[in-house]
C-alpha cells in the first residue's frame, strides 16, 4: 500500500484519539488538517507530542512496513515545525517516505 494523504491522516487521527483518551483529555469535537498539535491553541505538552510521534511511527510501520524516523534532521531544522498541525504532519510524512 502506498501512503496517501487520506490514509496517513486517518492514522494520525487514531493516534490522537488514543492519546487524548490516555491523557484523559476531552474528546476532540472536530478533526481536520487544521487541528493544532503543537504550540499555541493545543492542549498537548511536549511529552504528549513525544508519545504521539512514537505511537504514529509504530502505526506507520504496521501499515506500510516502512520505518519513518519522524524527529529527524529535516524535521528539526524547519522554521515551521512539521508537528504544528495535522495537515503539516501529514504532508511531512508523505514528503519523507522512507526507502524500502
Amino acid at each position: 500500500m502506498i501512503p496517501d494523504k487520506k490514509s496517513v491522516q486517518s492514522l494520525i487521527e487514531e493516534c490522537l484519539v488514543q492519546l487524548r483518551e490516555d491523557l484523559a483529555l476531552p474528546v476532540l469535537d472536530k478533526f481536520s488538517p487544521e487541528t493544532t498539535l503543537l504550540g499555541a491553541g493545543s492542549d498537548l505538552d511536549s511529552m504528549a507530542i513525544v508519545h504521539l510521534i512514537a505511537d504514529l511511527e509504530g502505526r506507520l510501520f504496521d501499515a506500510y512496513n516502512l520505518t519513518w524516523i519522524l524527529a529527524d534532521e529535516r524535521a528539526l531544522s524547519r522554521t515551521r515545525s512539521p508537528f504544528r498541525t495535522v495537515g503539516d504532519l501529514t504532508s511531512f510524512i508523505i514528503e519523507a517516505i522512507p526507502e524500502a
Partner: protein
Amino acid sequence: MKSGVIIITGTSKGIGRHLAEHYLANGWIVAGCSRGESTIGHDNYSHTSLDIGDEKDVTRMVRTVHAKHGKVDALLNNAGRASMNAALLTPGSTLEKVFRTNTFGSFYFARETAKLMIRQKQGRIVFFTTVARPLRLEGEIAYAASKAAVESITQILARELGSNGVTVNAIGPTPVKTDLIRGVSDNSIQNLLDRQAIKRIGEFEDVTNVVDFFLKPESSFVTGQIIYLGGVEN
C-alpha cells in the same frame, strides 16, 4: 523472574551470547543481533544481521520485533567494541568507529525500544559500560570515553522515562574472558585486577546476576544506576 520479550545486542559470542542463552533457558523470547550470522539455535530465538551503528537498520529491527511479538519488555545494549591505543597515537577514525558502535548504536536501540516501552508503560533498558571508565584506564581513551557517553545516556534517559514505568540502568563489568580482551596482555589484565577491591577476573554469571536484578519486577524503583563489578567505584 518474569519472562517476556527481550532484545539483546551482540549475541554471536561473548557476554551477549551467554545472556541470550540464559534468558532463553528462563523462558524468554530473545531477539538478538550481530554483524555476522546467528550462532544460537533455539525456537524462541531470532537473529538479525546488522551493524548497530546503522540507525535505519536498528529502527527496522526494533519495529519488526515489536510487530511480531506485540511488545518488548527489555533491552540489553550489550554489543560493543574495544580499542587499545595511547591517546597521542589514536586516529580520529578509531574514535569514530568506537563511538559509532558503543555510543550511537546503543542510543539508537534505546531510543527505538523506549518509544515502544512508554506506550506499554513498562520496560527495562540495560546499558553496558566498563570499569575502564571509572578507573580512567590509560591506553583506552576511545573505549572509556565512548562508555562515559553511554553512562550519561543511561542517566538522562532514566530521568526522561522515569514517569513512564521504564527503568534505565547500566552494568560495568571488570575483565571477562572474551574475544574483546584477547589482545590485552596478561600483565595489563593483572594490573587492572589489582585496582579492583576483589582481585579476580569476572565470570559470565557475575554479569547475568546484575542484569537479572535490573530486570526483576521488584526493581521498578531502581533507575539511573551504574553498577560496577569487582568493587570498582566512581
